[in-house]
Symmetry: C2
DNA sequence: TGTACATCAGTGAACGCGCGTTCACTGATGTAC
DNA sequence: TGTACATCAGTGAACGCGCGTTCACTGATGTAC
């Protein structure tokens, strides 16, 4: 072999990470295979040594991006004391920082509607990631002695982010983020002891 | 003139309506100008007698689709007695029927993330429509003697629909719709008299 | 230890195709006389 | 009322371009001897 197994795996990961960021920032349809490979510093032809098709990359990149983001949120809230985790999660998700950096943010908010139109295989891996994300929300609630519907919370987070990004005026956009934060916090109750 | 003014306006409207439905069902990037014109029963070249560019069509079609959907929801809830309007609106929005027919449904849920990446002009008309939609939600709440944050409600509706459409399994998808309906109803309070 | 060979990640040109847009044109109709 | 002309919505072929994918190839390295 010309390159070691590690070398190929590393290149593969670089393609996945680059695609994950660009798909979120520019949309799946907005980013071509050749363009991704160029960002990685390689040429188009090499792509098919790593993936069977663009669709395979979409599935893997979106799944990886989602998992990485969820892991990031998990590390973030676990750095907070129990009792402050749920609010920290909500504030971090519905922040101007997240709104203005879709390339490193939530995959559902960035590509959810688009991915819903993709083949079943792609959607299946995506469904699993949504469940993992909802599980994290549930854990954050429980750590804070709160109870509520984590699926409803996930919906509010995603939808509010999409509205905040769609609205051109920054001040108006901020009021949507604020409304989303309020709505989520109002939807949970202190757990009966 | 070959055709009367009415004739051109009518053709223009047919293009707008067709594009609005197809953009929602297949995504803005997933539908070409030639394909829209074919759906209308015309050939590509004629397109530019009606629109300066595809982007102009995107702005007009999405704005029209959004306004039409909002008007439809308005007519629907006004057919209900005051006191049952908000719940009717929420149930209609978060229904399997709406989930399974994006081409005739909410433009934000279908194209929101995508349109956020479009030029300022397109986003501006879109922002206005969002405000009109939030206003309708507010009116439905007030008609029922409820108070709450209509922007937060809009976020929950949009995000829940995106999650429900992304999830491949129909039964699991239905639980997300249910959670969204619960979350919205729990977020409003009976108005103090 | 030194040499010949096999491997295969990555190259770069080419494929057919659909995209948004342009343009010379057609021909039915409204308008002017 | 009848005829000549101007208008312009719509035609259909062509434009350059980027798309996803294919393929003959290169050349550095691991492996066999």
């Amino acid at each position: 072999m010309r390159y070691s197994k590690e070398h190929k795996d590393e290149t593969h990961q670089r393609i996945v990470k680059t695609a994950g960021a660009r798909f979120r920032a520019e949309g799946v349809d907005g980013v071509g295979v050749a363009s991704v490979m160029q960002s990685v510093g390689l040429t188009v032809g090499g792509f098919y040594a790593h993936f069977g098709s663009k669709e395979d990359l979409v599935a893997e990149a979106c799944s990886d991006a989602f998992a990485t983001t969820t892991a990031g949120f998990r590390a973030f809230i676990e750095s907070k004391p129990a009792g402050r985790r749920f609010r920290a999660l909500v504030d971090a998700y519905l922040s101007p920082r997240h709104r203005d950096d879709p390339g490193n943010g939530c995959t559902v908010a960035a590509n959810g509607a688009e991915l819903a139109r993709h083949p079943t295989g792609t959607r299946a891996v995506f469904s699993e990631q949504i469940n993992a994300w909802v599980k994290l929300i549930t854990e954050a609630m429980h750590a804070d002695g709160l109870q509520g519907d984590a699926r409803g919370v996930a919906g509010t987070l995603v939808g509010t982010m999409i509205l905040a990004r769609a609205i051109a005026d920054p001040a108006l956009s901020e009021t949507y983020l604020q409304s989303g934060r309020n709505a989520v916090m109002a939807s949970v109750q202190r757990q009966a002891v």
